[in-house]
Assembly symmetry: D2
Homo-oligomer: 283 residues x 4
């Protein structure tokens, strides 16, 4: 059984050898270790994959021991994830289909190792795609007046299906504080600009008007402040004076798909950690 | 003799065939033609290179005829540049040497076909590099109190040497309106961010604090508004959580050199046109 | 009506002005012109888009006049394509679905302006995807013994549906001379390496074994020599020692999709010309 | 005092915890650890940086203990490098100055932390640059007849100055087996193509003739087989039909400089390990 440990704590000497010795003595063979120290914040981060031959029986014991012997003395925040778990991912969409298609194809081919209990949309247009891939589709319209009720429905579905994280695949509504608080650093958005340039609405139009020579896309965890959450992944592509806004949008779609799917993949593989509104992305 | 025509005018039918027929009838063979229409602004742009076998005698006549027969009826703004002209480029620098070195090496190898009458700096540090490449170096300190007098000295040098355009190779002073008015779309700056993100001071620090995964550099023509002029060239490179601000700066230096030298090369080869605070960059 | 002219001929003075005058006098307004001279081969290339207000009546007359007045004297090879034509594209696939999905999504969203009369496959696996997008699917198995008969069936379908060009979307069979001769520079392949490196079978394995730090994908027109036809488009992405062959394959899929769809788009928009086993790609 | 350990050995459980415990018990604080397992070859690689407060006294003792307690039982090959050491880098050049300039500027600005005891060239052209940067320059002509004698002179200089590694900064001679054997994985070359495409002479001409849309540069350790050694770093840039061979060469120069300097920097910072003709590049 593979177990992936994610750890962060105040930086201090001896953490690596203490943790690796513990894993070793608990019957685990370390197959991957990556660590990072944020010198400014004086915080230590580690991602460790161990292969445990007889983990099943001892699982709870190891977790208990780790908490007592390591986590408490080092003031760690930590989590452990097992190789046989598939996280449950909810998809929120509106009318654009490219990111939805991209994620569903990766899901159906097995490249993206998640369960997708349902797709929520404030519009009806993408219902057919959900049907193609046999995913339940819930149409929850959002208007100025029903925003709170709509959110209740969303939360109910998320809870019922024990969703682990949410992907906003070009969902054209601003999600509320309540959802963000329930899923801290667990809502992944794709913004169609090279943030922090062109946050907010109509970034391709803004980029066109500014006359940039490169456009981008940014995937980030959603926080209270719009388009200002911790960046997971970005990418860029060249444009020139020959490209109209519609060309920016077309080229941008390919960027959005790639950047969002990479971010989702990183999250699913437990390769992201968040601290001080920034991410550590393990390789 | 090669002659390069740069033209822009209100878009209307027949411009290309009229201009190409004129060139043909004036004894020129068109070896390159690129054109662009800005549909929003309804403006036509053209860059045309003609090879004239007996141009020397007829030069002034052709210019006169072009003005009368073509430019006036089509309400064109136009210029023509001859293959035997080397534009005069003044360099403004402060303390960073990487962009200065980069341009001087390209100049001395013949890759960059300009004359460099002098280098101006508000500091003394880079005098030795000027000496290595045998370029006159003028140290004109700039303080809050002498700003206007310093500018007078700069302008005097620029005029005396009939400078065609100015390159701010990491010059750490804001140039004044007066200089900008004298050299409209003829002052090239390099800004060490992916504009419009992180305009102003300390962009690498700002990028680091935002936790971006890609940094950039932008070369643009200087206008009144800081870091908001027409963009000539941009490029980007990846960073990650392992990079400190000092790594951003080091990686950024390589970007700045490349982006600035490409922008200068495009300007020197008359491949840039400016309209509505945006550039058309011919290939 | 928009008409796009593609022209190549021996380089000589006066071509541009002659052609542009002809278009002008035939009632066309030139909205785009790009030209290239291959100095080595002394060949002139041009792509010209004209907007004709009353073209429908005069179409055949203009073509006839162009042939007589321009093409014959200048020894041109030329073609003209009208804005209301949608080229017919046949898709050949095997078992990999990523390129097929990518093209079909672009097709169904209208981004890719073609008709797709059918999909041919030597396997059955992708039949369901064809069904999702309501495209006829022909399963034509290919074995060592039936190769010639299979090809007959393919050709028959291609002829019946008056197919304009063929896209091999990870079709895992070598197409025969006969097909290539029927569709010269009209069969587009995607090869999963940065050609000419790693031509032939298993390029990701070869790249892995060589220890490259960058992998690529190449789309090209199919010629007799395997993976040696005129290159339309290439792109690359970084890899490192942490990536296994399976990671190369996964990263490569995203490259393959993008590179193939860009190449197909260029072909559909008549932006490619072929000469001496190389392409001119207009912008 | 910072000490960097580079380790490789047959993969087996417990290495990480054993090594980290040793470092910890020897008074070192681990500030960086990266590890990699080559599953095919079943080899474990590790790079570890430790901060030792009282290392100076104990240095030899720690090395001795490490050898005895860790390296021997685990059948390790290992080396340790101290923060106060600057490796001695010899530069071999011919007539092209761009890579030489690039490395010398990084050296003189302190970005590249090496000593450069001398530059060797088979030509005289770059002597002035050596003088600018105050580096001894040895002109050792190489002809078919004197190749062996020339090599003797080179080796004598290398030995006298206790050179640690050699950089071939566009040195246009094939280095001999004798030199390679003396400096295994310590001679860094820059090849002006995206290897393995276009190995050997005139790669830009070959790339031009093939009609590629992207060109590259590759830095690698020199081995017996020409341009076939372990790749350290590669990069690519776009070209198109408008670029002549001379444009490939000009664009390529910028690639060569960047790729070579990155590779040298990685080597100097002990971030490269070689195994089975491939590199592990730590971040």
């Amino acid at each position: 059984m593979k177990a992936t440990f994610l750890i962060h704590c105040p930086d201090q000497p001896g953490i690596i050898s203490t943790v690796t010795s513990f894993i070793q003595q608990s019957g685990g063979n370390i197959v991957y270790l990556d660590q990072h120290v944020d010198k400014q914040a004086e915080v230590f981060f580690m991602r460790l994959e161990g292969e445990f031959t007889q983990f099943d029986k001892a699982e709870s014991q190891i977790e208990e021991n780790f908490e007592k012997e390591i986590a408490v003395p080092y003031a760690m925040e930590w989590s452990v994830h097992y190789g046989n778990e598939k996280p449950k991912m909810a998809l929120f969409v509106s009318k654009y289909n490219h990111c939805l298609y991209d994620l569903l194809i990766r899901y159906s081919s097995g490249e993206l190792s998640v369960e997708i209990p349902f797709i929520i949309s404030n519009h009806n247009e993408l219902q057919n795609i959900a049907k193609q891939f046999k995913i339940p589709f819930y149409h929850i319209p959002v208007t100025r007046d029903n925003k709170s009720a709509a959110e209740e429905k969303q939360l109910k579905l998320l809870k019922e299906h024990m969703v682990d994280f949410i992907v906003l695949a070009r969902y054209m509504q601003i999600v509320t504080s309540r959802l963000i608080e329930e899923y801290p650093n667990k809502i992944i958005n794709i913004h169609h600009s090279f943030l922090p340039a062109f946050a907010g609405a109509k970034p391709y139009h803004a980029a066109f008007n500014r006359g940039v020579k490169i456009i981008g896309a940014t995937s980030h965890y959603v926080t209270e402040e719009l388009d200002a959450g911790p960046i997971i992944e970005q990418d860029t592509t060249r444009v020139s004076h020959v490209h109209k806004v519609s060309d920016f949008i077309e080229k941008g779609r390919d960027l959005e798909k790639l950047v969002l799917s990479r971010a989702v993949q990183l999250h699913v593989n437990r390769k992201t950690m968040v601290y001080n509104n920034k991410t550590v992305i393990f390789t």
